[in-house]
Symmetry: C2
Subunit: 224 residues, 2 copies
């Protein structure tokens, strides 16, 4: 697949944990690409053309073929470029990797949002309880340095939001979820991940993100 004529564009916004998945996959695979910064307040014709259904980032455009949905983009990247595999090749292990990535999207992110983006005490307490339960499944699943073993894989990429963004959300809301006492393996993993050279080099700057989410949090209506 990969030849001299490759044209790879990533439509995204700096600071999005979903766009970061695509960035990290491209960087881990060593693929050259052009980053096209989107303004979601004023979506480009390119974004509407390439993702007419959701009009969301990230969108990967590879030789005019567009792929959306962050996890599908990562799988596509892994299949279209062969070096540095991100998913296991054995079908059962591949199914498990997909399962955990989907679990993060369907469950973990939802309960963490419930815990950290509310000013309603009762909703927060429920959200914290549900987050602890969901995060415990991830804690139990961590056997090595990364979910992928010694190397970052698909699940680590999906979970990067937990390592870098969730601590920002915790700081904004004043609620702690992932401490070294409660989830020692997950906490160590998050440190390993954000200090991995390729991750570190490509993470968005923390301070502007913190300011952005502080503003978002401040605008959540107070509970009755």
């Amino acid at each position: 697949m990969a030849g001299k004529q490759e044209e790879v564009k990533l439509l995204g916004t700096t600071g999005s944990p979903f766009v970061f998945r695509a960035i990290l996959a491209l960087k881990l695979k060593g693929i050259e690409y052009e980053f096209v910064e989107e303004n979601l307040g004023n979506k480009s014709d390119l974004l509407i053309k390439y993702n007419p259904i959701y009009k969301k980032v990230p969108v990967l455009v590879h030789n005019e073929k567009a792929i959306s949905e962050s996890l599908l983009i990562v799988e596509y990247i892994d299949e279209a470029w062969k070096g540095n595999p991100l998913l296991p090749t054995e079908p059962y292990h591949k199914a498990l990797a997909r399962f955990w990535a989907k679990f993060i999207d369907d469950k973990v992110i939802a309960v963490i949002r419930k815990a950290l983006f509310t000013k309603d005490e009762k909703a927060r307490e429920e959200g914290v309880e549900e987050s602890f339960e969901a995060l415990q499944f991830l804690e139990n699943e961590l056997k090595d340095k990364f979910f992928g073993g010694e190397e970052i894989n698909f699940v680590d990429i999906a979970a990067a939001i937990i390592a870098f963004w969730v601590p920002i959300f915790e700081e904004v809301s004043g609620v702690e979820l992932i401490t070294s006492v409660k989830f020692p393996k997950l906490y160590n993993w998050s440190q390993e991940l954000i200090n991995h050279p390729i991750v570190k080099e490509n993470l968005p700057p923390r301070d502007p993100l913190l300011a952005f989410f502080k503003g978002l949090f401040a605008n959540i209506p107070a509970s009755k």
Copy 2:
């Protein structure tokens, strides 16, 4: 992978459109399996053991290895047994197949539920509008007899709920969504699909399902 010692079990409930995806994939691939009927009112130890997170069907157990989530089961089946492929092999077409299957799960089913499982007039109208919009994307995507071309593929399996279950929901609610006038290609596709010999032979009996969903619908509270 496939040898004489294979043990393949499917934990499911008759009548579930999600379980049917796994059944259809197994049948299309010609894989022998044992169906273990679950009672969701009284979940078996086996279900809790094999799907501790969601405790939901379907679960495929292949030589003691368990996979849950219906679309992940179908992908696993396609990768573990090589004959009669269900997904394209070319990465871009594979990404598209995954995109449409995910679109059905994330979007189409949600808006159809909103349209057909409510007694609130306003919610229904919104749901119908959103269903038309979502279904139009599928209508535009249908180029051949099936989403997969001349053969049933991953997207057709994901969409079987639209061909067989949605008409039951329409009958129950008295609201029509997929007519031959509004969505001619989707309507023809649904007829092709439910009359495909392997589909037809394995679909659950319609009358008990209709009675079941009539009961479900009757129990939806009337709108204020």
